[in-house]
């Protein structure tokens, strides 16, 4: 039986972690994630979970502790944001290449400098090539649901990879919204007991992690790592199917909104997608056929499926809450790559919005949809890449 609550995104993720009851949690605070780990630490202190907490002196150590605990054979979680994720960087690669299914909510926040604590996607986008699976969440409900599903995805015997669950800092992490919790037992049954893969603590079968691999085999190991990523999509869809049976909530590798019969569309991640949907409804009422595609699985990126979903459109704007300076926004680059093999492609533009927590307002969505509408009519675009909501 679902329980209806009004809670923040952080609270929802902490509750998901409590319900899963992991073996080990690496804990280090960073805004806006702090509140999530603080809540989880309270669950540990109050005996509500059996989790062993490891309090560390930095996120680099936190991820290192998680790697050790995961290789030892535990179900391991942590959470971070921004500079914390950046400090974990080298260890992120080790977690994924060692095939350790660590689950980590990432409360998206801008990177310094200048110092900023608010929500944008530059942290997780910076970690997109670390070999982690990335699942993005529009609101607290999705962050909760994705956190639970992440265990089944990362721990799947064909996958065994770490998973980041991304949610927008403050906009979602600190906003109270209505959501539905599953029962503790439902979550535990759904996730199931942790299955060990190659545990170091199995002393009858000694093994070593992290050998030196040089020119003789490194290339082959990376090819094998890529291969695992190609299997993730099907597992994500299978897990989503099971989750729908349990919760009634449907998930895919991406979500489309009024896209099937659309002429123009916005591709956008996380909380801004919700605001955009409301504005799309307004334009639909005026007879303008706008739609939306919101990626959920960003790594691995479902190129073929996204190309298929967008190919009928006249014009598409990919909106990025992060920039790759001197290039396009990271989401744009993925979508452009996805569309490239098509013979007939939509016009494609890139807007950078909402950096450092700058509000993404309905007027911004309206501005973009109007521009898309004009582009579709004239069959040309004005600017390939542009910042919106920026003062001149």
């Amino acid at each position: 039986m679902a329980k209806v609550v009004a809670v923040t995104g952080n609270e929802a993720c902490a509750n998901a972690l409590r319900q899963v009851n992991p073996d080990v949690c690496g804990i280090y605070p960073i805004t806006p994630q702090t509140d999530m780990m603080q809540r989880f630490a309270s669950y540990i202190a109050d005996g509500k979970v059996d989790t062993e907490s490891i309090l560390v002196e930095s996120e680099h150590s936190s991820m290192s502790a998680c790697i050790g605990a995961s290789a030892a054979g535990g179900r391991v979680v942590t959470a971070t944001s921004s500079q914390g994720l950046a400090l974990m960087w080298e260890m992120l690669h080790i977690a994924s290449s060692d095939r350790l299914p660590i689950i980590m909510p990432v409360v998206n926040r801008a990177l310094s400098g200048p110092l900023n604590i608010h929500g944008d996607h530059s942290d997780a986008m910076g970690a997109r090539d670390t070999g982690w699976i990335q699942i993005w969440s529009e609101n607290g409900q999705e962050a909760y649901d994705n956190t639970i599903q992440a265990f089944r995805i990362g721990e799947h015997m064909d996958i065994r990879l770490p998973v980041m669950v991304c949610l927008d800092g403050f906009i979602i992490s600190h906003s109270i919204e209505r959501m539905e919790y599953l029962e503790d037992q439902e979550v535990r049954d759904f996730v199931g007991p942790f299955k060990n893969f190659l545990p170091l603590l199995d002393i009858d079968k000694p093994k070593s992690y992290g050998p030196l691999i040089l020119t003789d085999l490194y290339h082959e190991y990376k090819r094998a790592q890529h291969e695992v990523m190609t299997k993730v999509k099907d597992v994500v869809l299978d897990v989503a199917k099971d989750f729908e049976k349990l919760s009634g909530r449907k998930y895919g590798i991406f979500e489309t909104y009024r896209l099937e019969d659309a002429d123009i569309a916005i591709v956008i991640l996380n909380s801004a997608a919700g605001t955009t949907k409301d504005v799309i409804d307004e334009f639909r009422d005026k007879g303008i056929k706008a739609g939306l595609l919101k990626p959920r699985l960003f790594r691995p990126f479902p190129f073929d499926e996204i190309a298929e979903a967008l190919k009928h459109l006249k014009a598409v704007c990919v909106m990025d809450r992060a920039d790759s300076f001197g290039s396009y926004g990271p989401l744009f680059m993925e979508v452009a790559s996805a569309l490239y093999p098509l013979e007939k492609k939509p016009l494609l533009m890139n807007k950078i919005y909402g950096l450092g927590g700058r509000d993404y307002l309905p007027s911004h969505a309206a501005q973009v949809i109007s521009e898309l509408h004009e582009s579709a009519k004239s069959d040309r675009i004005n600017t390939r890449k542009e910042y919106i909501g920026v003062r001149e």
Partner: protein
């Protein structure tokens, strides 16, 4: 031995057995070899302690002849060897001589 292809590798580059270093023979790296002179040996086993690999086999508390499969010729054993009456029990000799 044929080098493995990417489909044959253990996941995560995990080494799936203990003691596999025994198969990694490094004796060919050597430029100088240690030579054991049993007559000067007091069986202090410093060489066994200091050897970074496993080139000094010990049975019943006494060392035997070097296992050159693992000796890289680092010379630490010869340096540490106290010998007997000023005569080293281990001396380094250039390979090929």
């Amino acid at each position: 031995m044929k080098a493995k292809g990417w489909k044959d590798l253990p996941p995560g580059a995990v080494v799936l057995e203990g003691g596999s270093a025994a198969r990694f023979k490094t004796g060919s790296w050597r430029a100088f070899r240690p030579v054991w002179k049993e007559e000067n040996c007091i069986q202090c086993l410093f060489c066994w302690i200091y050897c970074p690999d496993m080139s000094v086999p010990v049975n019943d508390g006494k060392r035997g002849e070097f296992d050159y499969n693992y000796c890289k010729g680092c010379g630490i054993c010869a340096l540490e060897c106290p010998g007997k009456k000023g005569q080293k029990a281990i001396v380094m000799v250039e390979e090929g001589k």
